[in-house]
């Protein structure tokens, strides 16, 4: 039910069920497999989130004033993870990592930021180790910080989980757009292809809007 609370009454919403097939199918099984793995349920909406005046730190220990989510690059992709997450965080991170080469091709000025929802456990050292597992190098900034600060950011980006239980956290991806405080929000677990496709859609819409 939680998901529907994100549905803005006015902004356009869209429920998408994507059934994509891999372009290069090695054999019948591979095609089926790719099809099954590409099945995604997600919900997109346009949001406006002001950022709180706090500073977090990245995996190298460098301070990151949170307004850099808007000023650090023309566009920012934000998602949320924690390093000891059993199920979905490795999928989120792996798919973000896999999207990077394609994102590089379609845009020059963007940044990817993954914010931990478990700041007291996820120290910069742990995040650096986690980043190493996915080989994202400097391309993805993993943020942690004082618990109060991280939770202000989560609250202001409407990414708080229920019951104060981080195992309830649900996959959310945000792509900043040129509207003041504007974010394109995707609720649900998405693959690299969808992330790229959504990113393209954001650029397209802005281009049309001129």
């Amino acid at each position: 039910m939680n998901r529907f609370k994100h549905l803005g009454p006015i902004r356009a919403t869209l429920v998408a069920l994507l059934l994509a097939t891999s372009a290069v199918a090695e054999d019948e099984h591979a095609a089926h497999r790719a099809q099954a793995l590409a099945k995604q349920n997600f919900l997109v909406s346009e949001r406006s989130y002001a950022l709180p005046p706090v500073t977090l730190v990245d995996q190298t220990g460098a301070p990151v004033p949170i307004e850099q989510l808007r000023t650090g690059a023309e566009r920012t992709i934000v998602s949320f993870i924690f390093t000891s997450c059993a199920g979905i965080c490795p999928m989120i991170t792996a798919n973000v990592a896999r999207a990077l080469p394609e994102l590089d091709r379609i845009d020059e000025d963007y940044q990817v930021v993954l914010i931990t929802v478990d700041p007291e456990f996820d120290t910069p050292e742990r995040l650096a180790e986690y980043a190493g597992r996915f080989g994202t190098g400097d391309d993805v900034r993993f943020l942690t910080g004082r618990s109060e600060d991280v939770f202000r950011v989560l609250r202001d980006l409407d990414a708080l989980y229920e019951g104060d239980n981080k195992m309830n956290h649900q996959p959310v991806t945000l792509i900043s757009n040129t509207a003041p405080s504007g974010w394109h929000r995707i609720d649900g677990l998405i693959g690299a292809d969808t992330l790229v496709q959504q990113y393209r859609a954001v650029i397209e819409r802005e281009r049309r809007a001129g």
Binding site: S22, A36, A94, D118, F121, S147, N165, H169, L189, A192
Partner: protein, 544 residues
């Protein structure tokens, strides 16, 4: 040797239970694949994962989602089903109760709601259908598995090994369970002072008596309880608490525990206290896969693979040794001299401080307690020792010219009544606890419970820790229903701590999969006799 014996017993057990082992694979190799994503060839297992990303190794290990117990998990609005032996290979016994926790999870996506409510029959797995599920993501009835389930590129050998392991996974229940009781043990060393021992064991025994009274009442009224607890009553077990008393030196403890456990196996250890490190007991618990729930200790062991079996309140003195350098660097101190007593806890703390300081460029000179001549100058002095002599502290401070003298929180209890004002002003303590001045309502509940049981507050800190350990065990154990598996207990406990109120001994208590230290932060405090608790924080809470 033990592994072979274990496997032999397991096979006999399975045969007795009428379950013929189907696979010729190697159970141990299967375990490495399941838990660490390592193939028989010693390589990382490869899989196509969600979204079509190819991943390999530990992040693709079955244990990441299905957990060590095989009972699965519910995380991020995704329902990950159990894959234990009875679930995969036995005839399915559909039970609403099994889904009970999942049904009432706070966060549910539409997909999650659907999956949890969709209980359906399925053919038991065979070698062939297991292969299809693992490699192609198709179940025995031809249904396509969720995209979150990776599709593995796996050899016949690895698949046979995996099957052999799955055929043992949570196949029979863990030791320490009878038709009526769950056997629990509290480990206490004979050197623990009588008052503390009494506070600890007395609180646990009182809890057990109280719990058993209430549970017997519910059992008599099975099916009629007002608050719906009858739903769980048929799975309830009465508690039987054994006091496992250890004697002598730590290196003999494992042998003593083996004997005690052979006499009457305990399903879990609850609370506990020894005079010294918990290291040997923690290692024993890991070797024997016995959960140890919130022992009271200053020195935990390094948890075994996948988090091991002990859930600690905190890293104790090691946490204190991390708080100090963080604070010192914050204060602009560049060098520190630490004096180290002979106890294991002091040695370990000094080692940890050195490690932590090295990361932030803080210079550390470490001296044993009997090598305190000609101490070098330093910005701060740290003393790890059980005896605090104020005159000596003052002398060392003058020798080193240290601005601050740091001691572990333990020293607060043994400070002399009056201190030389200059020294008192320079004293700082690492404090890995909640501030007495902070308000934690749950603490009142703990006290109220003690009141109703007629327990006085002789050693309130010990009593609340014991009460909390039992409460968390109770709340987790009941969620097992009749799946009495020690691994599963720990996994439920990880969830349970998250949603439970904090009785205020530690600033925050949290766990997550495979996390074993519930509190990770603390303060540096100074003396302030005007305040409750006698100390006040210098700067904000530190999460090292």
């Amino acid at each position: 040797m033990m592994a072979h014996l274990h496997r032999g017993l397991l096979l006999i057990g399975l045969l007795l239970a009428g379950i013929a082992p189907l696979s010729a694979g190697d159970v141990e190799a299967g375990r490495l694949l399941y838990q660490f994503g390592q193939t028989a060839a010693g390589e990382p297992v490869r899989a196509d994962a969600f979204g079509g990303t190819e991943l390999a190794g530990e992040s693709m290990a079955c244990v990441r989602c299905h957990r060590r117990s095989g009972f699965g998990s519910y995380e991020g609005g995704y329902y990950i089903p159990p894959i234990t032996q009875p679930y995969l290979f036995g005839g399915r016994q559909l039970s609403r109760d099994d889904r009970f926790r999942a049904l009432f999870m706070q966060a549910q996506t539409a997909e999650f709601r659907h999956q949890v409510r969709r209980i359906r029959d399925r053919e038991p797995y065979t070698a062939e259908t297991l292969h299809r599920a693992v490699a192609e993501g198709i179940d025995p009835d031809g249904r396509v598995l969720d995209p979150l389930m990776p599709r593995y590129r796996i050899s016949e050998t690895d698949l046979a090994n995996l099957q052999a392991y799955l055929e043992t996974l949570s196949a029979g229940i863990s030791p320490g369970i009878t038709e009526t009781h769950v056997e629990l043990a509290v480990v206490v060393h004979s050197d623990v002072p009588a008052a503390e021992r009494e506070a600890l064991v007395g609180t646990l025994e009182s809890f057990v008596e109280w719990y058993n009274e209430r549970t017997r009442g519910d059992m008599r009224l099975a099916g009629h309880s007002v608050y719906g607890s009858s739903l769980y009553t048929r799975y309830a077990r009465l508690y039987r608490l054994h006091v496992w008393e250890l004697d002598g030196a730590p290196e003999t403890w494992a042998g003593q525990l083996d004997r005690l456990n052979a006499e009457r196996p305990a399903f879990a250890l609850v609370s506990g206290k020894v005079d010294g490190p918990w290291i040997e007991i923690g290692r024993w618990a890991d070797r024997n896969a016995v959960p140890s729930v919130f022992p009271i200790t200053d020195l935990p062991h390094e948890p075994g693979p996948l988090g091991g079996y002990t859930v600690y309140f905190s890293q104790g003195r090691l946490l204190e040794a991390e708080l100090m350098p963080v604070w010192l660097v914050r204060e602009g101190v560049a060098s520190v001299v630490q004096l180290v007593g002979p106890r294991a806890v002091d040695q370990h703390a000094a080692e940890r401080l050195k490690l932590r300081a090295a990361r932030s460029g803080l210079q550390v000179e470490t001296r044993a307690m009997d090598q305190v001549d000609a101490l070098p100058e330093a910005g701060a002095l740290v003393v790890w020792n059980d005896v605090v002599d104020a005159d000596q502290l003052a002398a060392w401070r003058r020798q080193t010219g240290a601005g601050a003298v740091l001691l572990p929180a333990e020293a607060l209890a043994s400070l002399p009544e009056t201190l030389e004002p200059k020294l008192a002003e320079a004293l700082r303590f690492s404090y890995p606890y909640a501030l007495v001045t902070d308000y934690y309502p749950e603490r009142h509940r703990a006290r109220a419970w003690m009141n109703t049981r007629g327990l006085d507050y002789a050693a309130e800190d010990v009593q609340i820790r014991a009460w909390y350990a039992m409460s968390m065990f109770r709340d987790s154990f009941i969620h097992l229903l009749d799946h009495f598996h020690r691994d599963f207990l720990l996994e439920v406990l990880e969830h349970q701590i998250q949603g439970s109120p904090n009785p205020g001994l530690y600033p925050d208590l949290q766990l997550a999969p495979e996390q074993r230290f519930a509190s990770r932060s603390g303060y540096i405090v100074r003396l302030n006799p005007a305040l409750a608790g006698g100390v006040e924080p210098v700067g904000e809470r530190i999460v090292p």
